[in-house]
Symmetry: C2
Subunit: 529 residues, 2 copies
Amino acid sequence: MFEGSKIGRFVSKEDYRREQSDLRTELLVVQRELRQNKIPVMILLAGIEGAGKGEVTNRLNLWLDTRHVQTHAFWDETDEERARPRYWRFWRVVPARGEMAILFGAWYQDPIEQRFRGLCTDAELDMELARIVDFERMLVQDGALIVKFWFHMAEADQKARLKALSRDDRSRWKMLPDKAKFSQHYQEFERIGERVILHTDRGISPWFLVEATDRRYRDLTVGKTLLEAIRTRLDQTDAMEPSASGRVLGLPDVATAQVTLIDQLDMTLALPQAEYRSELKRLQADLNELAWQAYKAKRSTVLVFEGLDAAGKGGAIRRITGAIDARLFRTIPIAAPTDEETAHHYLWRFWRQIPRAGYITIYDRSWYGRVLVERVEDGLASDAEWRRAYTEINLFEEQLAEHGIILVKFWLQVSQDEQLRRFEERERVPYKRYKINAEDWRNRERWPLYKPAINEMVTRTSTEFASWNLIEANDKCYARIKVLRLLCEQIKKGLEQGPVSVRATCGARRIDSKSGNGRAATEPEPPGA
Amino acid sequence: MFEGSKIGRFVSKEDYRREQSDLRTELLVVQRELRQNKIPVMILLAGIEGAGKGEVTNRLNLWLDTRHVQTHAFWDETDEERARPRYWRFWRVVPARGEMAILFGAWYQDPIEQRFRGLCTDAELDMELARIVDFERMLVQDGALIVKFWFHMAEADQKARLKALSRDDRSRWKMLPDKAKFSQHYQEFERIGERVILHTDRGISPWFLVEATDRRYRDLTVGKTLLEAIRTRLDQTDAMEPSASGRVLGLPDVATAQVTLIDQLDMTLALPQAEYRSELKRLQADLNELAWQAYKAKRSTVLVFEGLDAAGKGGAIRRITGAIDARLFRTIPIAAPTDEETAHHYLWRFWRQIPRAGYITIYDRSWYGRVLVERVEDGLASDAEWRRAYTEINLFEEQLAEHGIILVKFWLQVSQDEQLRRFEERERVPYKRYKINAEDWRNRERWPLYKPAINEMVTRTSTEFASWNLIEANDKCYARIKVLRLLCEQIKKGLEQGPVSVRATCGARRIDSKSGNGRAATEPEPPGA
């Protein structure tokens, strides 16, 4: 694969000067167009050591308008990052629409390093690469442009380059934090690189191999390739509607069943007041203790509350928050996104609220809005967007589970009659009045559209690691007790069984229950060392 | 001071039930009004151990609409927090306008604990308390409501309470992270508490002493006091314009000098091309090395670039970023704030970008917009707002310096003639065209208004720890070299002299240059232990 990267291409000083000037002007022009078209760009730099990725970055920073370019290396994982699922640190730095980010290694760095150190098998590496493909596809479908560069050179050239660098006391390379010394095992690294590229070189986010022996050739090639990629992306924008940018990939259409899951709930279930009071007291005490246990064990809990208007989400949540020490949880009400949130992929706003190890986040409405309100109401998400959201959500929740987060999802259902009764009550009682508005009445009318959406959501996103809990909520007492009971059961089970191994992947970190930090397992020497 | 908190007040069960119901309704009503009026509320809980601050919080969470209340404890400082100035962790959690936050201990916790452990003197504690007063005043002047509760009870009552708690295996109190055991030194703690309250009980953010012996009395008192405080604040809103909410405190008016500092710059200074090239190369190499040294020493650098339009800020910044490894710096262009930023104090957007230890942040325009564009243009900041900004900015920069951040501020000045020439050039040259717009021309006309603003800014915010560097920028070569030279000098000096001790305060952390973490010094036992 890398033969073409060892030819010894070079560019003369004069050619470089001449071409650079035009290139720079063109890059500034397309960068402005990217901003106007609100397209976020990610430039990934990977490849062999000593190729001068830092130099390339500095060059790009000279050419581009740096006010809209951020560079991110992933040297040192902070404890706040370790205390959350692995991809949180990438979500932190994905650029807003119209901005650019240069990412060193990015999500490829850990899998390559772990395979190189022999910490995972080829099969596990492949699993992780499949995840990467999913991740990149999701960003691209959302409108992002991802340009990936792999820098390569012949073994002898690399050796010479590294020797020169190590002689120079002011060499930037010498100041870098120590990473695995890939350079000492050229062939093994090349083998892994080939595997990585083969598995992740998709049309939507292709790899560009760049021969890095000659600096001028390397930089010009990167610049020209980037320019070309941006132009191609801008042309696509002209050709299509932004909201239709996504294609439905591998998602068969589900015929909407006449009788839905929701219909099968027994809405007559109820609980007498006396029983409610004693159960409430008992379960709240249990929950209080479980929350502290989870805190001590550094295991996080994510709660999702969805349900019809007036189904009693707020009341159920208050019975939970009333039981847990307020310092341990945060409630995140999901309303209209802020403009910073709108400028990112729709999952970004949920990623940013993921709790640190040991804490609890309660989402009052959630990412499921994508397949509920955004599906049903006009103009919020295109068909393609909400259809692919099922897969995106499952992959997202898989990562939470894999990190050891206990994920508990509730759907609260009320009958149409009961909902009407509650709406009317809300309009009567003074301190409930703020809870009802015209939109609630409008949503009620759209019930025939919501019903199949709910059914499809529950069917498609009930996974082995994150099942829906359906709550018959016509009787508030019954609903609250059922929520508390299931929550206690599922936290208890989660604490007993540890993190869910959804699939063995290369990048996976072990959870160290004492420090609560996911860390790579102990680090053996590279092969042959 | 605390005699009134040891009377043994109590509320009967019936009275509690009766009062609670009304109180809850009222609290929900005013909470809605707070949202409508965009008033952020901070509720601080402090006082003696065993008073049940956690119980109070849970009670408030039951009464209020928890979707708009966040609770924050400051148990464990994360490494990301330690790698930044102390107040960063508080800026992270100040609520947006219309939201509420319940803060445990907040900015009082560390000073009290450090004084209690004998790590600082009374005088140092007082210095820190003066800073707290400044900080709270700044938030209140920005429209926030701060309600501070100090919980107290007689020594015997506390002993009994703690004994009961320690017997109960399910007690939340037992699960708390270990803090200093204040309870064993009731009188010393009472003495410190009295001092803290005396120094920080200002009209703008008063303390409310609450007797905590009887739970019902305690909770009702907190609820009613909070309600009263919110109502008072809401009444003020009706009475005055929001933008006039601030008063000018202790800032004498400075007569604008006829001849300004800016006039005294020698705008003919220039540098020949040949000299420029060799100097540039030398200084960029120095800067590259200094940036790596600062990274290794975990010392951050904050650069501020201000200047007239077309003064060459961008060009100067590019000569800096071109020299530094792109992984070490971030450029933050300051344009219109996002809506999340608008929902906070104007300094919040700058606090959130403060670099981690060892990294560099370059602000292309900055917080000085408050006393430049926001002063000069109508409708952006009131007179009171920009006038008090000088003090606010100095206090902000003092905290950066104290944490060991190297702060370097540049003002780039061009003459009116040269600016005109550059504007015209920008309109001619294709790749410069995006840099000029109608607003630039308008700003130019307002030069007579900007001039005194610039002069006053430089005069008032050139402090011992953060002086302005004035750059004569009519000649780009001269300006860039002067910027690079001063920057290198000031980083070098900063690295040599270590963190600036602006004033010895109680909460100050030592900088551990190896880990880059500011930590409290070694912890001796509490007095008398």
